[in-house]
Amino acid sequence: MSLVETKPVRQDTDVVVRLDSVSKQYGAGANALLALDKVSLTVRQGEFVCLLGASGCGKSTLLSLVAGLDEISGGTLDIGGRHVSLMFQEAALFPWLSVSGNVELAMRLRGIGKAERRRRAAELLDVVRLTGFGDKRPHELSGGMRQRVALARALAQDADILLMDEPFGALDAMTRDILHDELERIWREQALTVVFVTHNVREAVRLGDRVVLLSSRPGRVIEDFPVGHARPRRIDSPEVAGQAADITDRLRAEVARHAH
């Protein structure tokens, strides 16, 4: 049972992200679109939180707000000045740089010296198990490998909070399954705090300490499900499948509400 980890009970001082009645509205007047409506959410240090919802629930909007790429329309959002990194569905590596160059770029922009950059990039490529691929070009790698380079690049930012916007959405099931294991391992080894957006219920239950279910148009928090299953988990284990079925029912009821 050495793999089952026991986590210390966390206090409220551990909170790294706090959203209090956060709203986000696009446009104004009659054409205004309310993307998020009074969303309250806290994420603690070292926690893995999955945000789950159907289309139009403002999951990506929420991440953009936390990442500071967009401004909130109401409420308060507090990340205590922490550094945030964001990963997308596309790896979006720069083709004019080598794999290592892409990972180094985050450090280069912070003015870290060349030798230190190279050393750290090699280290991070080890972490995502791409040892020796540093001199390759992004196009020489498969989709799953590129996504791991993107993860290494995000880690290179030394951010306190890693936001992931459906990072495995474009990958095949086999690759995704293996990358779940990898992400779980890296999250534990590096003591990361992760906010992971997905519309795949099983993926959310497979990965999260909590699954936060959002409604659609506007996005509101419907329910916050704690996930207590021992790690490492398997996406096809009965516990994961069972809880995923419960959450799916709840999600279907929410989607059906929009049927008129």
Binding site: S2, L69, A92, L109, R129, G144, R153, Q157, I178
Partner: protein, 287 residues
């Protein structure tokens, strides 16, 4: 045993990586060269054969339209003379200087236009308009402004090529993929760093096609210029061609046409090589 589980995971992952990477393909360089060359040789052969047939049909007398054998004979003699290479040197010097100036001006204008919205509104469409202007239209004005001089030729070469260079850069900057821009934002790129590390490298392919087009325009403008603006003492390729026409030496005129064509093709090959190298590096090739 936890370590075993860990190694399993690593094996699964590297196994998957190995399956997903396409095996490297080796191909024989000689065969590839031959495959690229023979259609060109065939095309040249067909053109020469057609030319010979026209000559044999006696559509025009031999002294007006000489056959390939005569022309290539004269061309062979021509390229052994120092005078000829002096002319080529002068013409190429003008071409390279003019093109370099055009690249400098086009890049500065293109960067400024894509950076400042009012400037784009003001001269964005003017640049495209200039691009479609036949460069020969500029010579009367250029001669009035600069008299019969090198400057008159340079003026037209630059004004012919700079808009293409500027447009290449502008469209390259306009079409930087949104996902890259978002990554730039996430990585905290602002101001100059954003240009240095994202916008400029991302617009490189479009910039290179702008350069290529700019070169074609400047080469054309230069040839028109050398025929129209004959600077005393400067015996460029164009001037020598004009002299040949004045002496009714058809064979020499055709020889110079071939020389200009070959230079154009050679330079185009250089640009294509740069373009292909970039595409290969970026993984934009079909294979």
């Amino acid at each position: 045993m936890p370590t075993d589980v860990k190694d399993d995971a690593a094996d699964r992952l590297s196994g998957l990586d190995a399956l997903e990477l396409s095996p490297a393909r080796e191909r024989d360089l000689g065969r590839r060269l031959w495959r690229a060359t023979w259609p060109k040789l065939l095309a040249v052969g067909i053109v020469i054969a057609a030319w010979q047939l026209v000559v044999l049909s006696e559509w025009k007398p031999e002294y007006v339209l000489p056959g390939p054998a005569t022309v290539f004979g004269d061309l062979a003699t021509l390229v052994t003379t120092g005078d000829f290479w002096e002319g080529v040197r002068l013409t190429m010097l003008r071409a390279v200087t003019g093109f370099a100036l055009a690249v400098l001006i086009g890049t500065v204008v293109g960067a400024a236009v894509s950076r400042f919205a009012p400037l784009r509104a003001a001269i964005g469409s003017l640049i495209t308009g200039l691009q479609t202007m036949p460069s020969i239209m500029w010579f009367p004005l250029a001669i009035l402004l600069f008299q019969i001089s090198e400057s008159a030729i340079m003026f037209v070469v630059v004004i012919g090529a700079a808009p293409s260079v500027a447009n290449g850069l502008i469209s390259g900057i306009d079409y930087v993929p949104r996902t890259w821009l978002r990554v730039g934002q996430v990585l905290g790129m602002t101001g100059f760093a954003r240009y240095r590390h994202l916008i400029l490298p991302a617009s490189l392919p479009s910039f290179i096609s702008g350069l290529k087009q700019g070169w074609a325009f400047s080469w054309r403008s230069l040839m028109a210029g050398e025929l129209l603006v004959i600077v005393p003492g400067a015996l460029s390729v164009g001037v020598r061609m004009q002299q040949a026409r004045d002496l009714s030496e058809s064979s020499l005129v055709i020889s110079f046409i071939i020389v200009v064509l070959v230079i154009g093709i050679l330079i185009d090959m250089l640009f294509n090589a740069a373009d292909n190298a970039l595409r290969k590096r970026w993984g934009l090739t079909g294979t």
